[in-house]
């Protein structure tokens, strides 16, 4: 996973943390150097994506004969077209792949959370023998590259084993396993910032752990649950390796479809840009609508307040 080490950072209270997207402002700090450098960086960062977006709306002839920027400089002389999108949905398996991606990503995001939340609760609010050792094991496996799992899991899930390789189930299982250490870590970090007095008083009132978990801890942990969910969703949606190896052709995701398109030369190459944009659409929407949670998820418990 990508952000596993980030979770293993100095932790601090979430409520003390300034919003990293824009903090309290001291107008005297504004500087021209900052404005110019940031402007240049923003332009540099946007141009590649803009190029893709513009290209995806141009005809095949235009794409081959001139750079995409000519369309930007001369927007009215350009024959804008939705042809690439039409042909991509008609000519490739992209529409099925799009549904597959959703079917793969949502269960693979939600299912690990339940298991991780119970484990995180036990790690935060219960004492038991071997607790430290088990938690150190989690910190350790967060670093293990997922490549170690491929051959053994192909044997275990494939025809030599359970025979479910190729189905959604195998990918749900894989992502649940790989997401688990980070999920437990993030949730446990967050739960340890919750006020202990609330849990103590629930106990005095005679609540069992099960009741405390559902009625108090889960509702109070919603920010961390949402943050992990977004991270995991982006990770699963954007994954190539597991989807390519563990899903059959019929069940494959947009990212694998896109990788196939990238391999084609000549004819059909113009469909690639439309395909790439389609594959980015859902994560972008998730990203923009839930950016606050996402940023909080990356920073929660990861930065000293």
């Amino acid at each position: 996973m990508t952000y596993q080490a980030a979770a293993n950072a100095p932790k601090g209270g979430d409520e003390k943390m300034p919003d990293p997207m824009s903090g309290p402002k001291d107008t005297s700090k504004r500087s021209w150097v900052a404005i110019i450098v940031m402007l240049i960086l923003c332009i540099l960062w946007t141009i590649p994506t803009l190029g893709l977006l513009v290209t995806s709306f141009r005809s095949r002839d235009d794409i081959v004969n001139s750079g995409w920027w000519t369309a930007v400089f001369n927007p009215f002389g350009t024959g804008w077209t939705l042809d690439n999108y039409d042909r991509m949905f008609a000519g490739t398996a992209m529409d099925t792949a799009f549904v597959n991606s959703i079917v793969v990503a949502i269960p693979a995001t939600i299912i690990p959370i339940m298991f991780a939340a119970f484990a995180a609760y036990a790690f935060t609010f219960m004492d038991f023998r071997g607790k430290d050792l088990l938690f150190v094991a989690i910190v350790a496996v967060m670093v293990v590259p997922l490549q170690v799992a491929l051959q053994p899991m192909l044997n275990f899930l494939g025809p030599r084993g359970l025979g479910i390789s190729g189905d959604y189930l195998s990918v749900w299982l894989m992502h649940t396993g790989f997401g688990m250490p980070l999920a437990i870590y993030v949730l446990r970090n967050y739960m340890s910032t919750l006020p202990r007095t609330v849990i103590e008083s629930a106990k005095i009132d005679g609540a069992t752990h099960f009741q405390t978990f559902w009625k108090l801890i889960v509702p109070m942990s919603v920010p961390a649950l949402a943050a992990f969910a977004i991270l995991q969703f982006l990770w699963v949606w954007n994954d190539l390796l597991i989807a390519k190896l563990f899903l059959s052709r019929a069940n494959t995701t947009v990212i694998v479809e896109l990788q196939t398109l990238l391999g084609t030369q000549g004819q059909g190459k113009e469909l690639l840009t439309a395909g790439a944009f389609i594959s980015m659409l859902v994560p972008m929407i998730v990203f923009f609508t839930l950016q606050r949670y996402f940023v909080r998820g990356l920073t929660a418990g990861a930065v000293k307040g």
Partner: protein
């Protein structure tokens, strides 16, 4: 908290909650035990069958992927909740002492089942396979290791990986810091927009990013209109169009691929560093200012030391990512033109060459490479816990 304790009168007086809990569960409740056990068994049986039915009898779900997805979500989440419900009931049914002792394990072990199956067992198995032949059915000693180290492609990949490791984490942290610091000096609205812009690529997959940058590095024959941005700029200054990703002199193509990863990751570095920098106490900066320190000195001597921990965190995260970098190389050059990296070499050994033994040996090397980071992370975590 609820460590196994006797319910002596003295303790009961001190901790009323403890005594209540103790009296509730002092005796075993056979009813709870039986219902819990049967409930767990039935839940697991139903779950297994339902999930198998998705692949064996898709017609039950109208052959619709969406129906399968929705049903999977409901029974996956519902089933897990039900399982924990019955598991909890079973453990509550145990006699007092055993109940309190077993409860934490009941909560922790299901999650560990997944970790054991998906991460710990495969790690051991991969090490095992690395000493076996291509079909993993006979041991060959260290032959795989001899093979890969004798292979020019492997040594070249290691060299490239080292380049990636030297360049990408350092530049990502440096850019992230610059953006975090300069963004802090903009107006609130400008800061938000500029940071979102640089953060945005985080939502893009490696494959999507490679498609995007494929347009930048595209090549057309000399004389034709250049449609690739880099070649358009290059020819505008009088150069000949280049097939950029095929140029392995000074590993130029590897560096161009690194640009893609840096472009993707700077936003992540920026977010963490930004909140660390904003968390630096204002009075430490004021104090330095009163002592006559310049902005530059304040940055290096006051701000940087206080955000060093976060910088290391970001550096390590990106380092782990770089060690495993696969998608970008796989979809652009697939390792040709001297641009291969270990993770891509592994993939090709495993699936193109069908050499499970050698592929496993490559992963073991990768595993050895992350071990120092792993040890560092564990020690770092231990220190944090000791200080908490």
């Amino acid at each position: 908290m609820s460590s196994p304790k006797g319910s002596s009168a003295a303790e009961a007086a001190l901790e009323p909650g403890q005594s209540r809990e103790a009296t509730d569960y002092d005796k075993a409740s056979p009813q709870k035990l039986v219902i819990g056990l049967v409930g767990m068994a039935v839940t697991v049986w139903l779950l297994v069958n339902a999930f198998l039915a998705f692949s064996l009898y898709p017609e039950l779900f109208l052959d619709s992927r969406i129906v399968i997805g929705i049903v999977a979500l409901i029974i996956g989440v519902g089933g897990a909740a039900l399982f924990f419900f019955f598991l909890n009931m079973f453990v509550e049914g145990l006699p007092g002492r055993a109940s309190r002792g077993a409860m934490p394990y009941a909560y922790v072990l299901p999650a560990f089942g997944f970790i054991g199956l998906m991460l710990i067992y495969p790690t051991i198995q991969t090490i095992n396979y690395s000493f076996a032949n291509a079909d993993s059915d006979a041991y060959v000693g260290f032959q795989n290791y001899k093979d890969i180290f004798g292979d020019e492609a492997f040594r070249s990949s290691i060299f490239n990986n080292i380049l990636w490791l030297l360049v990408v984490p350092a530049i990502t942290v440096a850019f992230g810091t610059v953006v975090a610091v300069l963004g802090d000096k903009l107006g609130a609205q400008a800061e938000k927009i500029s940071k979102s812009t640089i953060f945005l690529p985080m939502a893009i997959s490696f494959v999507g990013a490679s498609a995007i940058w494929g347009l930048v590095y595209a090549y057309d024959n000399p004389g034709a209109n250049q449609t690739g941005l880099l070649n358009a700029i290059w020819t505008a200054f009088g150069g000949e169009p280049q097939t950029w990703l095929q140029i392995s002199d000074f590993r130029l193509n590897s560096f161009l691929l690194m640009v893609i990863l840096i472009w993707l990751q700077v936003g992540f570095a920026m977010i963490l560093l930004s909140s660390a920098i904003k968390g630096v106490p204002e009075d430490t900066i004021e104090a330095a200012r009163i002592d006559g320190a310049s902005e530059w000195q304040i940055f290096w001597r006051v701000v940087i030391p206080q955000v060093k921990g976060t910088m290391i965190t970001v550096f390590i995260t990106v380092t782990i990512l770089v060690l495993k970098v696969f998608d970008i190389v796989y979809v652009t050059t697939n390792g040709r033109f001297n641009s291969n990296v270990i993770a891509n070499l592994f993939f090709n050994e495993l699936f193109a060459a069908r050499q499970a033994g050698r592929a496993s040996a490559i992963v073991v090397i990768l595993l050895l490479a992350v071990t120092p980071i792993l040890i560092y992370q564990v020690r770092h975590f231990r220190n944090e816990e000791a200080n908490a």
